[in-house]
């Protein structure tokens, strides 16, 4: 099971065992990770599962899609490495992925 590490703004970390095929958002919700809200349930509409991908993982995670990019207009702490976690599928390759959870969602 790939491990995903959610790092909160205060430095606290949540280590989660994720199911390959789920999204990173689903892994967070299944494990009650604070700060991942997912109001729209993974429809790429609400921007409340926003995460910042740690630099060393950026290439493996890849850039946002077009719709995702538009939806992230709502994200208050949007940065270069922003992604919506509902749009990142968990794969074995992402074992150990570290993402930062912003202090505020849209």
């Amino acid at each position: 099971m790939p491990k995903i590490i959610f790092r909160a703004a205060d430095g606290n970390e949540h280590h989660v065992d994720a199911e390959a095929g789920d999204s990173v958002m689903q892994a967070a919700i299944a494990n009650d990770v604070p700060g991942i809200i997912a109001e729209c349930g993974g429809s790429c509409i609400c921007s409340t599962c926003h995460v910042l991908v740690e630099a060393q993982w950026a290439a493996k995670v890849g850039p946002p899609g077009e719709e995702e990019d538009l939806t992230m207009e709502f994200a208050p702490e949007r940065a270069e490495n922003s992604r919506l976690s509902c749009q990142i599928p968990v794969t074995e390759e992402l074992d150990g992925l570290v993402v930062q959870v912003p202090s505020e969602q849209a």
Binding site: C40, G41, I45, C46, T48, L70, F74, A106
Partner: protein, 354 residues
């Protein structure tokens, strides 16, 4: 003042209501006076005398020309001044802005943008409206105190019928069936099929279905102000999902929206159906639509009030908001590109089987 797409044909009013007399309208926050000329065409001028700014609609029609009700300045159907009483010589070059118009599907359509771009061939058309085997019935001009894009939200949103229109267009069988959507060109298409379920009240009433049915809703929103709702019902054995619409009841509920201003819209609605009905049945069917659209009006007007009370407050965004969100992005893009935009004749796409 809000910003609008201007280089497009907007529905203004029913053709049946435009004759050789002045009628006053408001669209995109502009006042317009309209009348029918002897050749049958419809003249549309800004409803404002350039002299003292009296609405021209308070004046009178003198033959083909509009005479201001204050000092008698007179303008022809193209807005050119043709007479200034008490002033010698030919009238100076003074004019009132005029707007191109065309007519189709029982409506007068107006072009509020660059007149040079107004091509009547690009007005909306639904071929079934004119086809044998289909019958069209005009409805009302329903005034809704709500922004036209909030009405457009509703028309990109088949999910609401399961909750708002329980006596006419919806029933609980569809509550949890996800809505699908796609955008193409300047259209947002939202739809869902509800399979092997009881018919909605409206089709139960007119359709004589004995058992469960397959039914569909395809909401075609042709930005910025047209929505065509294709909905229908067939026996589960009829193969409607495979594209067979021969043995089905199908209705296009057409909404032609006049954006009056930021807080007011007029929904000119009509329905086109693939079954014959006598006048009494048509009237009852229109009455059913009246019930449904009054329900939408109540919802939208209450929302409009709350939006103003809670201006700036964040709204929750849930899965069914996907299509309305894309609709608003599409309209924003059209507004941003309004100057360069070419108005391609908007049409309802012929659908593939489910």
């Amino acid at each position: 003042m809000a910003v609008y797409v201007t280089n497009t044909w907007y529905p203004l009013t029913w053709s049946r209501d435009v004759g050789p007399e002045l009628s006053k309208h408001r669209i995109l926050e502009r006042d317009v006076v309209v009348y029918r000329k002897a050749d049958g065409s419809v003249a549309a001028l800004e409803d404002l005398c350039p002299h003292r700014f009296l609405p021209l609609s308070m004046g009178s029609l003198k033959g083909e020309n509009v005479q201001c009700g204050y000092h008698g300045m007179t303008f022809d159907g193209a807005g050119r001044c043709v007479r200034i009483p008490g002033q010698a010589g030919p009238p100076p070059v003074i004019s009132v802005p005029s707007f191109p118009t065309t007519e189709n599907m029982g409506l007068v359509w107006i072009w509020m943008g660059d007149p040079a771009k107004a091509d009547p061939a690009t007005v909306f058309d639904l071929p079934q409206y004119h086809s044998a085997g289909w019958s069209a019935v005009e409805g009302d001009a329903l005034r809704i105190e709500a922004n036209y894009l909030n009405l457009a939200d509703n028309l990109c949103d088949p999910a609401h019928v399961s909750f708002v229109h329980l006596s006419t267009l919806g029933n609980a069988a569809s509550e949890d069936i996800p809505v699908q959507h796609e955008t193409y060109q300047e259209t947002v298409l939202t739809w869902r099929w509800i399979l092997d379920a009881p018919p909605i009240p409206l089709f139960a009433k007119y359709g004589h279905f004995t058992g469960n049915v397959d039914r569909w809703h395809y909401y075609h929103y042709l930005a910025p102000s047209i929505a065509i709702i294709d909905f229908g019902t067939a026996d589960v054995t009829a193969g409607a999902t495979n594209g067979n619409r021969e043995d089905c009841m199908q209705i296009f509920a057409c909404h032609f929206i006049t954006p009056v201003d930021e807080h007011t819209s007029i929904d000119h609605w009509l329905h086109v159906k693939n079954f014959a009905a006598d006048e009494e049945t048509n009237k009852r069917l229109s009455d059913d639509f009246r019930v449904a659209f009054a329900e939408d009006k109540a919802v939208l007007e209450a929302i409009e009030v709350n939006e103003q009370v809670h201006a700036g407050r964040r709204k929750a965004r849930i899965a069914i908001d996907a299509a309305p969100t894309k609709m608003r992005r599409l309209v924003d893009r059209m507004i941003a590109g309004d100057g360069e935009r070419v108005n391609h004749a908007p049409r309802v796409r012929v659908l593939e089987p489910a």
